[in-house]
Subunit: 251 residues, 2 copies
DNA sequence: TGACATTATTAGTCGTATTTAATTATATTA
DNA sequence: TAATATAATTAAATACGACTAATAATGTCA
């Protein structure tokens, strides 16, 4: 009675509601088909829903919603429809795609934010200042360039990298241990920590090199894949991935 | 290598990325604290991420992102930020709430629809026709009436009921089996199916009444809780919930 | 270096949601 | 009415994501 309804139980309830709308009564087979699950999953879900007072259910008998179940189902259906509505009317997403997306989103949306979505969709329709004119432009624009995910995937990396570079600089200036991987030629520092289990860690260990040894970066090659260091009497060439396991304190 | 990354693994990856941004290196304890999970959960997640090539990880050693991991993490971070951005700038959701909501939503959003969200947020900022004027109105409106979820919960039931009524009528007109529960006084039909396990089903069974018997609805009481029927020589009064288990074919 | 506190890992368990395989109930047909 | 087909059930198994308790590794301080 007290446990909260889970996302998947909401799905079952919603499906029962929709099938009851159409056929008066829901049968496990149809529920399973609608949700893409097998019979036993449905049986279990129905028993849970019955135990918690959402449906009338007895083995081999007809399945219908209780008052409580109908109310709960309507809330779920409402969420679903509101989201789909938003996606279609505001974001100009294609109907089928919007429906599928709404299915996944509906369980992750808090009631308050759901209301915002609804209000916004209404607002777009009724705002006296532009009466949809402005938003039609958006829909049109969306349908013109179908590039969607492609044209932004590349630039995002760069923009995030920029943020990172900035932070990097700040850290470099400080005295915090840094990763050898990120150091530039001319850097000089002391090993703060190294991983004995990694290949490079073992190589260094075998040479008797441990925490505290002074290390110098000599060269970083073209694509940034290799880094050449000098340590004690040795000159070593490391892959950046190896260098990711060594922390250094700048001197 | 082939299995898809799950929602929670994305969370771990995102967290590792963010901690690496700040401290060069991520430690299990901090990851756990950031995600609100215990140590062992982190260990398991890290092993999965390492097995699938997202991070460099060996027990007790430093954790850093691989190339693949960094790329994947950036995608996740981008999703998160884009969603939060949308919620804050377009839907005028309060920053902290938006951040939490974005956490939950980000795993349920397809790339294509995510792009729509981003495009729309940009559109709102740059649309030359209103230059934000119109959307400020929405934000203002949201902050005026804090009613959000309350004022709509009631009407939704009604609107859904309307849809249902319409479908109901259509079905009633046809010859499909209907639920006795939904029949009105004067209805005459034949029992199509009944549940022997329910109390009313047993009562009827005991009277020797089975599928095919002719049934007549005499009266439906006030609040619609009871339904009076005539069957063979008997007059019976049923609760609607009982009547939900009997299907009838109209004559 | 040794003892201690901190942190990380392993092993075992729980709850949810699903599956397959085998069983039982109902419906259909000869 | 018996034989068969369809559907629903139970039981046992798998996967995932989290937990607790016990064990092991590491870093620190005297």
């Amino acid at each position: 009675m007290s446990e909260a309804i889970s996302g998947s139980m909401e799905d079952y309830l919603e499906t029962v509601y929709q099938i009851v709308q159409e056929h008066q009564v829901a049968r496990p087979k149809d529920i399973g088909k609608a949700l893409g699950v097998t019979g036993p999953s449905v049986t279990k879900a129905l028993r849970w829903l019955a135990d918690h007072g959402f449906i009338h259910y007895a083995p081999f008998e007809l399945v219908t919603l209780t008052e409580k179940g109908e109310k709960a189902a309507k809330q779920v259906v409402r969420k679903h429809e509101a989201l789909r509505d938003f996606l279609v009317r505001v974001l100009a997403v294609e109907a089928k795609e919007a429906d599928e997306a709404a299915c996944k989103l509906e369980h992750a949306l808090s009631p308050d934010i759901l209301e915002r979505f609804i209000q916004y969709a209404d607002f777009v329709d009724t705002c006296p200042r532009n009466r949809g004119k402005c938003f039609e432009r958006f829909a049109w624009h969306c349908n013109q360039n179908q590039t969607t995910s492609d044209n932004c995937e590349t630039c995002v990396g760069e923009s995030l990298d920029n943020v990172r570079q900035k932070k990097q600089k700040k850290d470099d200036a400080g005295t915090k241990p840094a990763l050898l991987k990120n150091m530039l030629p001319g850097f000089k520092g002391r090993i703060a920590q190294l991983s004995h289990r990694t290949s490079i860690g073992q190589r260094l260990s075998e040479m008797g090199i441990e925490t505290g040894a002074v290390i110098e970066v000599e060269k970083v090659t073209g694509e940034g894949d290799m880094i050449q260091i000098k340590i004690k009497a040795y000159h070593l060439s490391l892959r950046k991935e190896e260098a990711a396991h060594i922390r250094v304190n700048p001197l």
